[in-house]
Symmetry: C2
Subunit: 253 residues, 2 copies
């Protein structure tokens, strides 16, 4: 039985608690967080504390707090036995001062209250020692079929790639929604297209899946589209992404 103290009371902590609670071989012995109000949501399931001195001994202290707070929080746990691991995509392992330190990064976007199938979520593991790497890997394998050894350098790039794949694509969906709204068209119209755009990647690489006016260098349609866009920022985005698509396929020749 792996004992875990979960540190943090945000969105990621709440998703991790939910999956830990339903997974055999894991015991969440405590949730530790500064925000007493937020702790309340956790206290129906496990013991909680807002007081560092009351933090109980554990095999793993799993830090799920904002990137900026990780180093500070880790420092307060410096004297503890057990592994201290954070769950961030962009913070290097070295930020943790202890020797028994690791990273346990589930590569997914978590929505409060929306349950996810953890088995499909890639979990990226890193640790300062082989033994702790093995322990964190074993923990991850209890949750997911996709456990990977990813270095801090790789994780940094992976996190950057995730910004393109998730944050930026979502923003494009938002711009599309805005264009619909301006014509009093329901955004629902675009949802099957959006789902299929993602779904397609089961069958084709994004490079193979690319379609549209920029892909076929259809200057006439692109020119028309630019005149239809009222926002100068949207026009710039249209131009830049079209230029980038064209450049991608010209390189191929």
């Amino acid at each position: 039985m792996l004992k875990i103290v979960l540190v943090g009371t945000g969105n990621v902590a709440s998703h991790l608690l939910a999956i830990f609670l339903e997974t055999k071989g894991i015991a969440v012995v405590q949730v530790f967080g500064r925000n007493k109000e937020a702790l309340k949501a956790f206290s129906s399931y496990v013991p909680t504390t807002a007081n560092l001195e009351n933090v109980v001994p554990s095999d793993i202290y799993l830090i799920a707090v904002s990137d900026k707070a990780i180093a500070t929080v880790a420092k307060t746990l410096e004297a503890r036995e057990g592994i201290v691991a954070h769950t961030s995509g962009s913070v290097p392992l070295e930020v943790l001062p202890q020797n028994r330190a690791g990273v346990f990064y589930p590569l997914q976007t978590f929505t409060l209250g929306k349950k996810l199938d953890f088995k499909t979520i890639p979990i990226c593991i890193e640790a300062k020692t082989q033994q702790d790497f093995n322990t964190l890997t074993n923990l991850a394998k209890l949750l997911s079929h996709h456990v990977h050894h990813i270095t801090s350098e790789q994780r940094k790039k992976l996190h950057l790639a995730a910004v393109f794949a998730n944050n930026f694509s979502n923003h494009l969906f938002q711009m599309a929604a805005q264009l619909c709204e301006a014509e009093k068209l329901p955004f629902e119209l675009l949802k099957p297209l959006i789902f299929e755009t993602a779904e397609k990647l089961h069958h084709l690489s994004p490079k193979e899946a690319q379609t549209g006016p920029a892909r076929r260098n259809d200057l006439e349609t692109m020119q028309k589209h630019l005149t239809e866009l009222e926002s100068p920022l949207q026009r710039k985005i249209y131009q830049l992404l079209s230029e980038s698509i064209k450049a991608t396929y010209e390189k191929k020749l």
Copy 2:
């Protein structure tokens, strides 16, 4: 029984033939296309012809050819009885010279050989007369639960929105894949994130779903990301999309 002559032998024509063949109340009486080689794939299912003079009488002539060719193809069918309708997102209805003209636009991205659930695909209908509008609507309702009356002006904007939602987001996926590749990381790692980014829209609007450094105005992370991006074009895209995300939420205040 609605008789249809399908005009064109490309990707959309092939998807339409497949769904028409399995739908009661629809009879594809012929496929008409200039490309004899491409016609072969259709000839195992329905009569085909490459010769305009041999095109048989029909209730509907459904044109699924490239945007640029629609006007020319429609002109060759001018003397026919029956409705002439095109399937394009960006071509106005007026491009069709006949009075009995319409638009039958399935808003989806079609991949050769990949079957889709047509019931979920929005079909956008427009016609010059009420009667033909009704006929095309009835045809669409045989295939899909989502049939909409969309004007040429609206369809133009919808098609533009689809470029953002599909073409551009796919390009972002491709950039993410490229960043993975450079670190020898499998693109598979990002797929659950991409699927969830789309899936989330069942529960939240894209405006609500937005996360990431630009959303929380995390200048430090954004600055780090910019130094990690080697391609100047990718840096420009990162900056512009981040700027656009920030602007979206500043407006809200």
